[in-house]
């Protein structure tokens, strides 16, 4: 690409040891959108969950179109304490079979609630196309990615990119 290159690495984490949570903090508001890429596994089959700005209140919702093994299903949660963009393409003990691509739009505005769109994949378990909502007008300055049981497999990578307005 020429002058239009607007994709910047903000931070990356490669898990090591008994890690079940990764937080990207002090996220600059200088970008337009964020992209989170995850590739790895876990010590048990588990979904990856996300919270913004340390908010553990029931201010999240989610809607997913899922391939659960080989069955297409849909699901919905509202007023929960996290958003989750996977049900079929979850972390599994097969490393690194899982990948996720999560786009967080207009994350730094202070007017609207925040939406994330995710694609989660695991060739052994299924996949998802999902949307998550955080009902807050605060600019997102931190993202916590965690699993409720077990740990990320060592070597799981989580990378946060910023997309800047051209």
């Amino acid at each position: 690409m020429a002058a239009g290159m607007t994709y910047f690495p903000i931070a990356t984490a490669t898990t090591s040891g008994s890690i079940s949570t990764t937080t990207f903090s002090s996220i600059s508001g200088a970008y337009t959108d964020l992209v989170l890429i995850v590739n790895g596994g876990a010590s048990t089959a588990v979904n990856m969950q996300i919270q913004f700005n340390g908010d553990t209140g029931t201010n999240y919702s989610r809607t997913a179109l899922t391939l659960d093994n080989l069955t297409a299903v849909s699901s919905r949660q509202s007023s929960v304490a996290y958003t989750r963009l996977e049900d079929g393409g979850y972390l599994s003990t097969t490393f690194p079979a899982k990948n996720s691509i999560i786009n967080i739009m207009n994350y730094s505005n202070t007017t609207t609630y925040k939406t994330a769109i995710g694609r989660a994949n695991n060739a052994g378990t299924g996949l998802d196309a999902a949307v998550g909502l955080w009902r807050s007008t605060s600019a997102i300055n931190s993202i916590t990615v965690y699993i409720a049981s077990g740990n990320f497999t060592n070597g799981t990578t989580l990378t946060l990119y910023g997309i800047a307005a051209a």
């Binding site: 690409m1 290159m5 607007t6 994709y7 910047f8 690495p9 990356t12 890429i37 590739n39 179109l65 391939l67 093994n69 080989l70 069955t71 297409a72 393409g89 490393f95 690194p96 079979a97 899982k98 990948n99 691509i101 694609r119 994949n121 695991n122 060739a123 052994g124 378990t125 299924g126 996949l127 196309a129 070597g155 990578t157 990378t159 990119y161």
Partner: protein, 166 residues
């Protein structure tokens, strides 16, 4: 601030071509993204298949797709979606996005596929989401695409991008 999203190679077909290959892919990026706009010369839609390093072995997947208004799923190794053919409305090219994280790692390669073959009719359109795995520890140095029969036609495009986390 480093740019992280760079065009490695663009291929625009000037003649009918049975398959395309990105070879000698630099090993200096973290992830790869391939964007496809392709149409085939076969009578109907044809499956589009991916290969790495000249190999068609050790691929597995799960896919979910809407084909002619019906939801389907399956496991067809290397299948990423349907290439528009001559029964598709003229000038419609199918489109795909293939995201490959950690393509140089010494682990298996998990990757994501989104592909659509639209049509101006109530039939012969397919939307495919896929979770893909190449169970090979070699770094990816080449990527190939080919339809199950026939060839890609002139004006089909294949763009390979590199994304770097540092």
């Amino acid at each position: 601030m480093a740019y992280s999203y760079k065009l490695i190679e663009a291929k625009t077909l000037t003649t009918t071509t049975a398959s395309i290959t990105f070879s000698s892919i630099p090993q200096t990026y973290t992830d790869l993204l391939v964007l496809i706009s392709a149409r085939g010369d076969a009578g109907g839609q044809r499956d589009c298949y991916i290969s790495f390093n000249g190999s068609t072995s050790n691929f597995s997947n799960r896919y979910m797709e809407m084909s002619n208004s019906l939801v389907a799923s399956g496991t067809t190794a290397r299948y990423i979606g349907a290439v528009s053919g001559t029964t598709t409305t003229a000038n419609i090219f199918s489109n795909g996005a293939i995201y490959i994280p950690n393509y140089t790692s010494s682990q298996y390669k998990s990757f994501s596929g989104d592909y659509v073959a639209e049509n101006n009719a109530q039939s012969t359109q397919v939307l495919t989401l896929s979770a893909q795995l190449w169970s090979n520890t070699a770094a990816i140095t080449s990527i190939g695409f080919a339809p199950s029969s026939g060839s890609f036609i002139q004006y089909s495009t294949f763009y390979l991008y590199g994304i770097n986390k540092s």
